[in-house]
Symmetry: C2
Amino acid sequence: MLKSLQEIVGERVSSSLAERCCYSSDASQVSGYPDFVVRPANTGEVSRIMMLCNERDVPVVARGAGSGLAGGASPVSGGVVLDMSGMDRILEMDLENLQVIVEPGVVAEKLNWALEPHGFFFPPDPGSSSFCTIGGMISYNSSGMRSVKYGTTRSYVLDLEVVLADGRVIHTGSRNLKSAAGYDLTRLFVGSEGTLGIITRAGLKVAPLPKERRLVFASFESAEAAGQAVIAVFSQGITPSACEILDRTTLKVLRLVDPKLALPDDGDVILFEVDGSRDSTAEAAEQIEKVCRPMAITIRQASGREMEPIWAARRLVGAAISRLDPKKTRIYMGEDVGVPIKQIPALIKRVQQITASVGIPAMKYGHIGDGNLHVALFIDVNDPDQWDRLRTAADRIHRAALSLGGTVSSEHGIGLARAEYMAEQVGKESLNVMRAIKKSLDPRGILNPGKMGL
Amino acid sequence: MLKSLQEIVGERVSSSLAERCCYSSDASQVSGYPDFVVRPANTGEVSRIMMLCNERDVPVVARGAGSGLAGGASPVSGGVVLDMSGMDRILEMDLENLQVIVEPGVVAEKLNWALEPHGFFFPPDPGSSSFCTIGGMISYNSSGMRSVKYGTTRSYVLDLEVVLADGRVIHTGSRNLKSAAGYDLTRLFVGSEGTLGIITRAGLKVAPLPKERRLVFASFESAEAAGQAVIAVFSQGITPSACEILDRTTLKVLRLVDPKLALPDDGDVILFEVDGSRDSTAEAAEQIEKVCRPMAITIRQASGREMEPIWAARRLVGAAISRLDPKKTRIYMGEDVGVPIKQIPALIKRVQQITASVGIPAMKYGHIGDGNLHVALFIDVNDPDQWDRLRTAADRIHRAALSLGGTVSSEHGIGLARAEYMAEQVGKESLNVMRAIKKSLDPRGILNPGKMGL
Ligand SMILES: Cc1cc2nc3c(=O)[nH]c(=O)nc-3n(C[C@H](O)[C@H](O)[C@H](O)COP(=O)(O)OP(=O)(O)OC[C@H]3O[C@@H](n4cnc5c(N)ncnc54)[C@H](O)[C@@H]3O)c2cc1C
Ligand SMILES: Cc1cc2nc3c(=O)[nH]c(=O)nc-3n(C[C@H](O)[C@H](O)[C@H](O)COP(=O)(O)OP(=O)(O)OC[C@H]3O[C@@H](n4cnc5c(N)ncnc54)[C@H](O)[C@@H]3O)c2cc1C
């Protein structure tokens, strides 16, 4: 096998223990050793690799930056890891057509650096955008703070070049902004977590940069009350460009990092960002203030430079948690639940009860305008009892979301970490349909086996 | 068969010649007689009908309002037409969650009437919205003037209830605004033209109504020059809420209908609409004027009441064409091509050459901001020679779009009218993938056979 792979990619394959160890996991708890690490340089190589692996029934797991939080890129069945991060060219900036053509290894932030001077941006903005790849974002349908207005990665993919399990190369869409011709294969591959094909090129739609941003932030008696404020704002027909919750534990952590942080310290906080022209942002910010004032303890606005440290702190949250107790580590489990907006207060309440009852401290933050709550559980990883309690908490959090008509993952994906909930999440018959589709494209089941509950 | 169907739906089935004739075609040239017309009242009935037809290999064609322009709802292989227009209840207005739950037979405009008092709307706006159904719109991924800003139907479908070929009932999404859990079955069914399942319920996302709209309209030396202006506006990062072209033939027709129409009569016209807050629309309109002024002959703005007759005239265009010559009829063929924005001037030029060379008069209008050009060819339908030339023109227009990297359908769909172009449109291997998916969900091929080139 090694020899055959070398015939295709030369030196860019390895089976050394060190390399295999480096590629054994993503940013989740899911891991397994691959047999080979391969770094393809172009579509032709990917196609030949797939042909080879299909012939020999060797599992293939694509990997971008390995920043995923669900184990999607973890090679739990051995076989080949395809490291796509080397295919990282921006092939075309076709801004007259509002689009760019990229290889899958392009890092999201680098794409935005290239777009900014032209007045455009690629809107999906995961917290990981300074290192995650476009291929990974497409495969997880990633999103972030601004999806409440701009939508998820799905909304920005026009066309994909995909290598199928048997090495065939297909194109899924077109460079037209609008086309009604055949099944929407593009969006079938978006969110498919490497189980249907390897993405080797993407045509992405870009959007004009907004001229102005403005922030309204308000503190509330409780996280539940904060959730009520979100419902009130949306019911008024206001669409903020971001709508984030930071509960009081999260704020405490942030203040440990930056004691001068200009955020209220008297409750649980919601950040509403609005963007657009100068006047329209001022108007929308006023409206939000008006709706929230009767419910809030304190409320303030910020614009321009003033906003920067606040957003910087928000981005830091996930990593900052260790400040609360340096002996403890944040574990990404049960961290990405979501519910319909109306159920936000109920979800917050249930999560509070769960973490209190199992005695695991938790920080709650997230894209609450999408109904998405990130629950950060942290434990001493050397204590098996804390691990047990963590697992119990994560499982109950997932089930709480499901019982509220919600989702076990708003944006981080299913991978292996959440595979056990798929039947309940999508329904037994829908899961069967997904399996039938998987089988029709990958009959030997070599693409990322074991993932997504397929 | 009639008896078995009666056991399921009672009186709501017919095999009379009159009924069969009424259901033999949609608004296109494609037709064929069904054997039975069935009007199901609920999901359970649809499921039992599918089970029966699957068992007996009887084709099933779903039909909404039959306003489609590609023959999607035409029962070309006989069998059962499922008239879904009777399942027309708005089941839930869940505006706190920014969504509504509807049956597929709800007419688009009626949904908007129900939403308006609450300050919301369902953005996709085909010219047919006063009669077409949500089920038809989902199945064609319909759109209209405002998709340039708001996107197509695809962007507003959260969740579907679908009856599969064998009668199984599945749900495809969830009521969450954001979820990353499994394949995006929702968007696989959007645009699938009744070939994968029967949609019996839909959860739709709605949007807040904009506070203000404003129109900028400008005339140009040529339709190509008008196309250049569109490129210039988009390159500035402006996103109009509508961007329509009306060529001089179209304007002539409109003036025959309304001689007082406040549109320029000195060239080919582009209408740019912007929406949002009062100040932001004024600002965007100013910007558009500034970009277009050097290229335009005349340029003007309109707002409020002043805009109404202009939009009313625009909506009338398709039907108004007979004013030019009452003996002639507009035939919807080659009517929905689209290209990447940059190619708009080239497409316009090619269409002009084609219609001149075959000697068929044509009116050109459409959602040019999406790259979508509606070419209205009109002929004396009693003249076989004109029919021949019409077919030649339509074929050349489709091929011109393809050769410019465009699409044979931006929004009207493939059906049978454009099925012959599918292999060239999507590529042979992609078409094979579509066929494999179709087969995995409908192994006996009873759902809308012959459509979409599958
Ligand atoms: C600090 C931090 C913050 C984060 N914040 C967010 C957030 O706000 N929002 C959010 O959505 N996510 C977030 N994430 C999760 C993760 O970063 C994103 O999902 C990211 O998009 C994954 O990109 P990647 O390149 O690391 O993909 P990987 O983890 O390498 O892979 C992700 C999945 O895609 C598949 N894949 C990768 N490349 C290809 C390809 N070319 N073809 C086919 N399949 C492929 C893999 O097999 C795997 O299933 C965060 C992660 C971290 C560590
Ligand atoms: C004057 C006029 C103007 C138009 N303007 C536009 C426009 O601006 N933009 C645009 O996109 N289109 C336009 N159209 C085309 C057409 O009206 C739209 O595509 C419309 O959405 C079709 O809806 P319908 O209910 O008539 O569907 P039908 O024509 O009845 O069916 C359309 C397709 O959907 C399938 N289908 C219907 N219901 C279901 C269901 N419940 N489950 C599964 N499959 C189903 C049918 O089998 C068929 O393939 C126009 C048509 C006319 C006549």
